[in-house]
């Protein structure tokens, strides 16, 4: 890749730690976005708490329930089993991606590796 003088200067000035934090923040933003789930006019943040609560309701033989969403609005969920399957699937998708990207970040020891720029060391 052609390395412009502007890029060279930016890399010279870039602080590894700050870049790491900015890249980590981007990852967190992406994961938080993926963990927002709208259904039946409400929005839920998929969390371990939500998953456990829905599992508890199912264990108590409930098939439908009214859950409070992120706006504290009551949202009726008819088909708790399907809802649980959906939120678990989304949870795994988001956290697995987070894990893969975070591991890659942690192993990157240079600024250009943190941002995955293909230039010579």
């Amino acid at each position: 890749m052609y390395m412009s003088s502007k890029l060279t200067k930016a890399l010279e000035f870039a602080n590894y730690r700050t870049t790491l934090n900015v890249q980590h923040n981007n990852l967190k933003a992406k994961v938080q976005t993926l963990l927002n789930y709208s259904i039946n006019g409400g929005t839920f943040e998929i969390s371990q708490t939500l998953i456990s609560f829905v599992q508890t309701l199912i264990d108590q033989q409930h098939t439908k329930a009214v859950l409070l969403d992120v706006y504290n609005n009551p949202i009726e969920i008819d088909g708790l089993a399907d809802f649980l399957e959906e939120i678990i699937s989304r949870y795994f998708e988001a956290t697995n991606e987070y894990h893969a990207e975070y591991t890659k970040l942690r192993k990157s020891r240079k600024v250009h590796k943190l941002i995955d720029l293909d230039i010579d060391d």
Partner: protein, 297 residues
């Protein structure tokens, strides 16, 4: 229920807003799978951009183009300083008057208004469709370079109301949304009075201000009464930042100006999260790269 996106794109002497809207329309189609996209522009902008990009290219991106007349007096009066990093600053016309007319202009039952420079790099806004909240917009925002804090972007006045961002607005047609936009127009048309009450700084007309005041009034004069969008927050960069490239689908490499060393940059790869890019020149410089990864290619 019909649903669609709405953008406003009026070019000025330097910024091809309609081109930004075209790029964003392709990003919306690819990421949100929503093909009903309306752009409100004016004849001069339409002629300029279709000459540059080709009519078919523009019409493939945007399903509905609405041509409006510019208010010439407003156009001349509403000038703001545009920056292409801290190295270049130019006062240019900022034509944003007709966003208040979104309710009448939108052909959809459910509409998401987005700025042409709010780049859609994910399907996060699909969480809005069919929502119980009839009107949503954000007061919460984060600069992606987390060390920079600008308190003037949090409130209209240090002791005043919270500032909402009119950058992204979801509304469902109905009494509330209709009343909301009527109130925005009322504020827009009586700026001097509302500025004396809410004390926002400067002479520039900003939709962020009029939407914030409408939110305050229709929220029963309570701060932060209008619900936010189903997003973690709005992410933004400043016009003092620049863009290096768009190396892959939904990825942008930014130069972010260092807060303690103005004019120097650090670098960041932003992936898969929608972002408000304030440096319009920078988007136009990489618009062809951005398009390479969309169906507009």
């Amino acid at each position: 229920m019909t649903k669609g996106f709405l953008m406003f794109a009026h070019n000025n002497d330097e910024i091809d807003y309609l081109k930004l809207a075209v790029v964003n329309a392709y990003l919306i189609k690819d990421n949100c799978d929503v093909h009903d996209i309306t752009v409100v522009t004016n004849q001069a902008s339409y002629d300029y951009t279709t000459n540059a990009l080709g009519k078919d290219y523009v019409n493939n991106a945007i399903s509905n183009i609405i041509i409006t007349e510019k208010d010439k007096e407003f156009k001349v009066a509403n000038q703001r300083m545009y920056k292409d990093t801290n190295h270049t600053a130019k006062p240019l016309s900022f034509y944003n008057k007709d966003r208040a007319d979104a309710y009448e202009l939108s052909p959809y039952d459910e509409t998401i208004i987005v700025d042409a420079d709010y780049l859609i790099l994910s399907d996060a806004l699909n969480n809005c469709w069919g929502h119980n909240n009839e009107f949503m917009m954000n007061w919460s925002y984060e600069d992606i370079m987390y060390e920079r804090e600008d308190p003037t972007l949090r409130k209209l006045h240090p002791t005043g109301i919270t500032m909402y961002w009119a950058t992204v607005v979801y509304f469902k047609k109905g009494n509330f949304a209709e009343q909301f936009f009527k109130t925005v127009k009322h504020v827009r048309d009586n700026r001097q009075y509302y500025q004396s009450v809410y004390k926002w700084p400067g002479n520039l007309y900003r939709n962020d201000y009029s939407f914030s005041i409408a939110a305050h009034m229709l929220g029963g004069f309570k701060d932060r009464a209008i619900p936010q969008l189903p997003l973690p927050t709005l992410y933004k960069t400043f016009d003092t930042d620049d863009i290096h490239s768009a190396p892959a689908r939904n990825e942008i490499i930014f130069y972010l100006e260092k807060p303690k060393s103005l004019g120097d940059f650090m670098i960041c790869r932003w992936k898969g999260v929608d972002i408000h890019v304030m440096n319009k020149w920078a988007i136009n410089r990489i618009s062809n790269e951005l398009m390479e990864y969309t169906s507009g290619n």
